[in-house]
Structures are given as C-alpha cells and as structure tokens.
Amino acid sequence: MDQYLLLPLLPLAAFILNITLGGGLFKNKAHWIAIPAVAGSFILAVLCFIDAVQGKVVNENVFTWIASGTFQVSFGFLIDRLTAVMLIVVTSVSLLVHIYSVGYMHGDKGYYRFFSYLSLFTFSMLMLVMSNNLLQLYFGWEAVGLCSYFLIGFWYEKKSASDAGKKAFIVNRFGDFGFGLGVIMIFLYLGSLQYADVFARVGTLQGQTVSLLGYQVDLITLIALLLFCGAAGKSAQFPLHVWLPDAMEGPTPVSALIHAATMVTAGVFMVARFNPLFILSETAMHVVALTGAFTCLFAASIALVQNDIKRVIAYSTVSQLGYMFMACGVGAFGAGVFHLYTHAFFKALLFLGAGSVMHAMSGGLDIREMGGLKKFMPVTYWTFLIASISIAGIPGLAGFFSKDEILWLAYNGGTVGKIAWLTGTLVAAITAFYSFRLIFVAFHGKFRGTHEQEHHLHESPSSMTVPLMILAIGAVAAGWVGVPAVLGGSNWIGHFFEPVLGHPHVSGGHEDEWMVMGVSVAGALGGIFLAWVMYSWKPALSDALMERMKGVHRVLLNKYYIDEFYDLVIVRPAMWLSTNVLMAITDGKIIEGIVNGVPKSIGNFGERLRKLQTGSVQHYGVVMALGLVVVLAVVTVWVLP
C-alpha cells in the first residue's frame, strides 16, 4: 500500500520543497529536488507495471475524504493495467522532460518555479490516473488544468503567454462544466462515485430516459456525452480545440510533457476508463468516433500550412488525439490507449526536438527562417527524423503499429467505423506530408536566417540531447509490444488491455488487414514523397501551388477562422455584457450605490448632528438648566399630585 501512496507523494513533496525554499535556498539547483523525486516515482511505476503484468489489480481506499450523509468519497487508488501503462507514460516522459529542462531552462530567473510546477503537474497527473473514484479524478483533472495554466503563462511578462494561459483555462471551463454535470448525474442515479460501484450498477440505467428541455433523452447517452464534453475540452477536440495551439506560448518542455504526452491524453484515458458506460450508448460512441475523425482531419489540414514549428506539432497533436478518440468511438479502447502510449514518445520527442531547434535559433520558431540545420545539430536532426518517421506510420516504428491497429479496428466498426477508417487513412497521408515538410524545410536545404543567427547555430547540451536519444528509442521500439498477428506478432498489448478495456469486434479477414495496412503505408509513403518533391526537389512547386490555391491557403493559415468566429460569437458579447451591464450597471450602479450610499447617508446625518456640539460650556449649561426646569415642572404638575 505504502508504495502506491508514495508514487504521487514524491513529486508533491518536491513541489512543496521547491515552492517554499526554492527561491532562497535552491535557486538554480532546484532540479536536484525535482529529478530524484520523479525518478523515484518512475521506479515505483515500473514496479506497479510489473505487478499489473502478472494480473494484479489494486483497488484500495486510503482514507475517507468526504462523508456527508449518503455522499461518501474516499481517497483511494485503482491500479489496473490501464493505470499501469499510464503511470509508465507519465513518469517516464516526465522524468525525461525534467532532465531536458535542466539544459533548456538554464539561467531562467523562474528556474525553481518551473521545476516546482513540473512536480506539481506530475503529482496531479498521477492522482488523475491512479484515482479509483470520480471525484478524485475530477480533482486531478482540475489540478492538471491549473498546472497547465501556470506553465503556459510561465513567462507572464509576455502578454501573449498570459493570454494563452487564460484562454486554455477558460476554454477548459466549457468542457469541465459538462464533465462536472456528468459526475453529478452519475452520483444522482447510481448513488456512488467509486468506479467499481459505478461500473457494476451502470447496466441498471439502460433504457431509462430523462426529460431534458422537453425531450426524452436516453440517460446513459446523456451521461456519456457530458463526460465526453470534459474529455473534448481537455484533449482539445473540435469545438474546444482552440486553446492547444495557443498553449505553445509556454516553454517547450511544457509543450512536450503537458500539451503532447500526458495532460491532453487525459480525455482519452477518461473515455477508456469509462468504457463500460460508453459501450452502452451507441449514440455516444458514434459522437466520440465522429468527433475524433473530424478533428483528426480538420487539425491535420491546418498543420499543412502553418509556418511556426511548434504550431505544426501542436495541430499534429490535436489530430493524433482525434485518432485516439476515433479508436475509442469504434470500441477499440485498447488501440486508442496503445496509440496514446506510442504517441507520448514520438510527440514528446518532436516537441523536445523543436525546443532544441529553438534553443539554437535563439527562440526563433518560423521554419521559413531555418533550413540546413541538419549539419549544425545532427543529434536533433536524427532524433527528429525518427519521430517523424514514427508519426508518419512507416512500418517498424512505434507510430505504425498503433495507427494501424486503430485503422484496422475502425475498418471493422460498421458504417461509422468505415467513415473513421477512410478519414484516418487520408489523415495518415497528410500527417506524413506535414511531418516531412518540417524536416525538409527546417533541416535540409540552405540556412535562410540572418548571418548572426547562423553564427550562433549549435547543437544543444547533453542534458537536452540525451533525453532526445532516449525518447528516440521509445519512438522506435514502443510499438513492438503491439505487433499484429498478420506480421507474425502476438499483439501483446491488445491482449494485455483486454481485462480492462474489453475485446474489440473483428470481422474482416487477413486479406482485409493487409489491405488496410497497405493503403495507409502507401498513403504515408506518398505523403513523404510529395513533401520531398515540394519542399526539397522542386521548391518552386509549393510556391506555385500556394499561388494557385490562395483562398484555401489563407483559410488554412487562419485556422478556418475559428478563433475569429469565437471572438465574434462568444468573446465580444461576453465582453460587451461585462463592460456595459455587469461593470456599468451591476457593479457601477447597484453595488457601488449601496456601498457608497450607506456611508454617505450616515455622514449626512452626522453632519447635522454635530451642529449640536457647539463646544461652548454655556450652551450645555443652558440646555441642562432648561432640562431641569422641564423635569421639575413635569414632576410637580403630573407626578406629585
């Protein structure tokens, strides 16, 4: 028991130490506190994983958190196979990002603050994945959101960074509002927030409906969709995706850890965790699958034309998260989590690689000003290339196995599954194209930046390159646990998840599987080839295409004007309401009226009262004498007789 408790508490202790003593005592040695803590967590996570492989499931309550009538919430841990894999992902990426940050954040005046937030984030994320009840999940959920806010706005003197932090926080409110309602409904109808109770009783809700705005809505669908609201917010799915690209204002290690590998996958984790609930509602599953598929294509198309290296990777993250939801929506929860796990490695690697490039470019992010970086920073180049091959889905690397598993199971998933499969295959090609566009534009060709920048180009220090190399191993090998049967593997990870995430339905034969695989690989190779043609072989071609499709290019470059649309429909009316109604009337007139009116009237009254106090003894004497006369008169006339 104790070791499980220690797993999240080690980073928490590091956070407390660093935030209280960091500024005065540790300063630029703050990593000596944070790194051992997260390394300890990593070792414990590996132990948990070994236990989980042997089939051990821990579900224990540590103490009662809230007890109020029938509302009982305890603080406990559920460590099954899903959690164990998440623990490995979170602690390993977190550890590598910690080490990388030693080099990346070197000399920053908020050094200790950065490490304390990283520790707090690791703690929160561990709480989220280890929880055995909904409220603790919600706690972790909000806490990671808070850390994300802190870290996006880490350089708070920069307006764009603090704005991006606020945007991330507020957009997540929309999703979390739905999630909160979902949690409340689960408690209302099932009387418990413990996963074990919820999953055991969820079947009793089947067929029940609830009246919502005059419509009879299926209860399970409603709950599932409310929960999915939260997942869509956290995992940046279509209507709520706008915060993630802006979140790139934060330091790059943060983008790698929070906005690629761990926090944004919390939504996928949650949907996978609630698979017993989701599979009971076909509608909810379809919504999940189609939202995922749409986001996947939508984000990938934006990534095609962006020029900011981090934004390309950010949209790629949104797109890959779409893949994961697509998998969950067709019932392939295992494949979704498998992709989550492989994605963590290659996407963290891409971000850290981008950070390394930024480091060399003195903070420059525009790929049009890069080029030819290959010879200046070979380690970054090769690891970045490996990650790109992995995400493109070239056979043998991690991304291929998980993506192929998703596409294959989507292919078997009925009409919606077929739509998802078609979208997914198309996106696989687009993904390969934009990933290699980055490679060809940024790393090949000739350097296009200023002479001064060129002089400054250098490979990053070893504290940064070593994590890159370790992640590169992950980006290659992480998928080998899920080699499908047609390629002579045993799909170990798929069977590993079966006790928790169920067994997806497969109807197609081997020929179909070869076909699915062949099409996606051909698409990926085609994408890479096209990227090579357009950005390396005949760069004029891309300019010509851009000229020809000016309108489309502009729409994509402006991200389909979604931000502008939200600004018009939500932000401006809200601002108008705030300034003209809430601030001017409610605050200005009503509240200020009361607050200022009360003392003013008391003041006026006092103003009149003070006239009585003349300060002259004689006046008091006259009043006293007259008073005495009156009293005596009253006594003699009325009282005595």
């Binding site: 009262l609 003070r610 106090q613 003349t614 300060g615 002259s616 004689q618 004497g621 004498a625």
Partner: protein, 100 residues
C-alpha cells in the same frame, strides 16, 4: 426668629445669581465662582430645612458639600492655571477644541 420663607428666598436669589452668572459670563474663573455660589445657595436651604425640621442630617450633608466644593475648587483652579499657561487665556470663547 427669621421665618423659613426668608431663608428659601435668599437661597433662591443666590442660586439664581449663580445660574445667571454661570450662563452669561465667559471667564472661567467667574463661572467657577458662580458654581460655588449655587452650591452655597443649596447649603443655605439645607441648613434652614435642617433647623426647621429639627433633623441634623441636613447639616451633616452641608459639611460634605463644603468638603466636595473645596476639593472641586482646588481641582478647578489647578486646571484653570494650567489652561492659562497653555492657552494664554481663560475665556471660553477661545476654547473651541470640542466644537463639532
């Protein structure tokens, strides 16, 4: 034998002098003297009633009042002196710190 009425009359006259003096004069020394006048007017009526009613308690009370009046005069004069030293005046019109 002087009748009681005369004593009461004398007492009323002196008391009224005291009250008028207290209310009309602006010099604190005079005002203090007026207060003494009022006290002694009361003393006269007390002694007169004590004799008239053949009750010694009235005269006992007078002794107390004289004692208190002596103490009051001492304190009052002391305050007056220090007031004069600080302000250079014992005129009530110049002492307006308590004015609201």
């Amino acid at each position: 034998m002087v009748p009681l009425n005369w004593y009461i009359g004398l007492s009323i006259v002196i008391f009224s002098l005291g009250v008028i003096g207290f209310l009309t004069r602006r010099n604190i020394l005079i005002m203090l003297m007026s207060v003494e006048l009022m006290l002694n007017a009361v003393n006269i009526s007390l002694v007169a009633f004590s004799h008239y009613l053949q009750d010694l308690r009235g005269q006992v009370l007078v002794v107390f009042i004289i004692t208190v009046a002596a103490a009051e005069a001492a304190i009052g004069l002391a305050i007056l002196v220090s007031l004069y030293r600080n302000k250079g005046s014992v005129h009530t019109d110049t002492l307006t710190e308590m004015k609201g």
